[in-house]
Symmetry: C2
Subunit: 483 residues, 2 copies
């Protein structure tokens, strides 16, 4: 047991015991305080992030803006009480299965949540990112493992979060950070850790998932792991707007040096003579990066790229070097993939993608049916295309399906779903982006036949918190309206 | 791989692919058909159940009534579309973090669900029980492992369910049953199994959970395992209505020969001279059972009872034999429990309970803080008692907290929560009873920028299914009202 982790987790648990009693308004004020704190030091944070991650400044500014917005959107959602899902069934002597007692249910926070920051989103999926916001929103405490790729930024961000929470009079220890592998393992295995949120590679994620499942008391492990994000272009779309599609593809798979969990890693296009290589080469001529997030990620990218290149039937369509990072498009015929499907499951985390040339959409449907769970799947089609069956298969594989768009770009909203069947995530019913992300870190408790005064506020008759509730099966008009 | 299980699971998967497209009205009609089928042969089913389980006929009649009611309540809920959680965010160029695309989310069924029937509820937690109803309601297929304690009943019930689904034109193979240990393991490990619902012992449940987690593609395992269900009586309540409480306790822990997951296994009462033993003996004088559910359960009960009796400081308060089944109340002082807490974690699955004599409620709070997760926790108190801190600890440990009631009796309603932290369940955010039980077997899919005609019906602008939806953060008035 790592001593620092042990101490942080114990403090966090004490803080959670207070936080679990906090009103929605109080919890919302914590999120607001963090948002304001981040804004007030945004220039410094972006500078630190750029220095450590080599990601472009405008991208980092946008990511920080998104992170601040996310905290505020969650604050508004908490005020509505959506996360509490308060449900009241009054006693009913005539209930169909026999007399029903008064029964009222509300969500309570799980406890201490261990959060693992991601390398590729130093703000949105790191110290003050979506997992932290989700957990604090519901009244959980957070112990955050800072990613080694941006530890200075992590330290500075943590300082801001801790000061903001202190100013907002949140319980001491509600948020803290730890560093290093030993502390990370202690975080997953500590008896007081109640759940884990993780974003990272399939190999590391699975190893931690296995530890979480093997505990004497297993805990929920919300891991977002790997995704290849297939994109399919129908013959109709390919015929009508090929150039636009190729340019969009080039922009999407190289965005942030391809270091996105939603990077399009497979592009299915029809067989035939076309200008794909030429248009791609032109679109990638300006490819320019400062490097990758870390030497380890760079090595992993090169290894996966070469492994795919070595598969039977794979050729290199385009390759452009910038600072030693090779933006690459490989190509293979779908018939070869049917014989050697390994390329359907090998993620290249970096600016590379594989074009698969198909004979007919039924062949694509057959291949997609073989792939693993995905965060996203995309279809570029014309309105008149017959794609019903293909769309069904795409929806059966992915958490988000896009029509005529590119998957790199994940809005934070009510309907967002950033998740999917394994290995996209370890919990297919969960999302790590959007307001539903909060649902991961609470559990329901029902109170049977309680006197009103002894009930939690959320369930008292007069609805002191003015939250949305369902009463005797009927959703009540909202006390407050969204936005 | 068990050949029969393999064949059933493959058929189930094909059926799920059709079922996942079914409208709420169609899915509701399947549940209705099963309910009607069970009703039409209720006498035969109760007879079979009595022969195999030795549970009393009136209890079995009530349980079957509850099972039929549950199917119909879920059908009504499906018609409302609650399980779909349809959420629509229109495109918004002014969205705070940058332009938002049109994004719409709906829940889709997970796939083939493996369901393990319980020994102690031959109807409500077996072939046509809550797990099956939940899974079919959402459009999943079910392969049900029949419990060895009532295989004839299981076969007859399965026949009814399969015939009802066929009459209702559900896809063939949507529901099937398997028997035996080898088939059970295949069900958990089969690549096409997408989730498991289990009710049973902690040892068997944990072994299956471990297999589900160790798969190449881990799947959600919704296990309801062990619970001891502490009941606490305050000094005030003990002084004012001791006789009534003791009689209520005797009735609750012996109900169904104590073979309930919600049986009160610990009763905390104040120290002191009282008539506990005498009143208990009188209340248990009429104790009469035909035996236990199975010889294995009987052996397990005797072993746990003797293990608790052997703990330092434990004495026998009352013991009454009926057909070789010993209704037993043990007693121990809370000071001894503080020194030897093993009794706080040893479930006696049968008609036995342990009375713990405490000095002060703060001692009870300290002991409850040590117990594992529970399905229920109960407080008997007077309105004027100061029990705030104790209630907080109880809510932190259990899925359902009762005030002045007994935990054996679980209504099926909107607010019900039958779950709790491990080992009560393997998934603390889930319930296996009540309409929220459906949420276990679906996952969300978001559709980005889709033309209306290509969207699933649940998300189309005109709302063809007339379901409840959230649009741009605002919950819409319901198209249909509950009940």
């Amino acid at each position: 047991m790592d001593a620092v982790a042990d101490e942080r987790i114990k403090s966090a648990h004490s803080a959670y015991e207070s936080a679990s009693r906090a009103s929605p308004a109080t919890r919302a004020s914590w999120l607001e305080a963090i948002a304001t704190g981040l804004e007030s030091r945004s220039e410094e944070l972006v500078g630190l992030a750029h220095g450590e991650t080599r990601l472009a400044v405008p991208r980092l500014e946008g990511e920080l803006r998104r992170t601040v917005f996310q905290l505020r959107l969650f604050a508004r959602e908490v005020e509505l009480g959506t996360d509490l899902d308060a449900t009241i069934d009054h006693a009913d002597p005539d209930w169909g299965m026999g007399p029903r007692p008064d029964l009222r249910r509300v969500n309570v926070p799980l406890g201490v949540v261990g959060v693992f920051g991601a390398s590729n989103f130093p703000f949105a999926f790191s110290v003050a990112g979506g997992d932290t916001a989700s957990a604090l929103a519901t009244g959980c405490a957070v112990v955050h493992k800072v990613h080694t790729a941006h530890e200075k930024l992590g330290e500075a961000t943590a300082e801001i979060v801790i000061a903001a929470l202190s100013d907002a009079r949140a319980p001491e220890g509600l948020f803290s950070v730890i560093y290093g592998r030993e502390a990370a393992i202690s975080l997953v295995e500590h008896p007081l850790t109640a759940a884990v949120g993780f974003t990272g590679s399939t190999s590391v994620g699975r190893a931690l998932f296995d530890r979480a499942a093997a505990r004497p008391r297993p805990i929920p492990f919300f891991g977002e792991l790997g995704s290849i994000n297939p994109v399919i272009v129908t013959p109709g779309a390919w015929a009508s707007r090929r150039r636009e599609l190729i340019e969009g593809f080039a922009g999407s798979f190289t965005l942030g040096a391809g270091q996105f969990c939603t990077k399009p890693g497979l592009l299915f296009v029809p067989r035939g003579e076309d200008e794909l290589a030429g248009i791609l080469a032109a679109a990638l001529a300006e490819f320019s990066v400062d490097g990758m997030l870390s030497p380890a990620i760079h090595r992993g990218f090169d290894a996966a790229l070469e492994a795919n290149r070595d598969e039977v039937g794979v050729t290199t369509l385009v390759e452009v070097d910038s600072s030693g990072v090779r933006a690459t498009v490989l190509e293979i015929d779908a018939d070869e993939v049917e014989r050697h499907p390994a390329v359907l499951a090998r993620e290249m985390f970096g600016p590379a993608s594989l074009v698969i040339r198909y004979s007919h959409l039924t062949q694509v449907t057959r291949l997609i049916a073989q792939i693993e769970g995905q965060l996203t799947a995309t279809l570029h089609a014309e309105a008149t295309d017959d794609v019903e069956q293909l769309l069904e298969v795409l929806a059966s594989k992915a958490g988000r399906v896009l029509w005529n768009g590119w998957p790199t770009g994940v809005t934070v909203s009510y309907a967002q779903q950033h998740g999917g069947p394994y290995p996209a995530t370890t919990m297919p019913s969960s999302t790590s982006v959007g307001t539903s992300a909060m649902a991961r870190f609470s559990r329901p408790v029902a109170f049977q036949a309680f006197p009103d005064a002894q009930l939690p506020e959320a369930l008292q008759d007069r609805n002191p918190w003015g939250i949305r509730r369902r009463v005797d099966g009927v959703y009540q008009p909202e006390a407050t309206s969204a936005q």
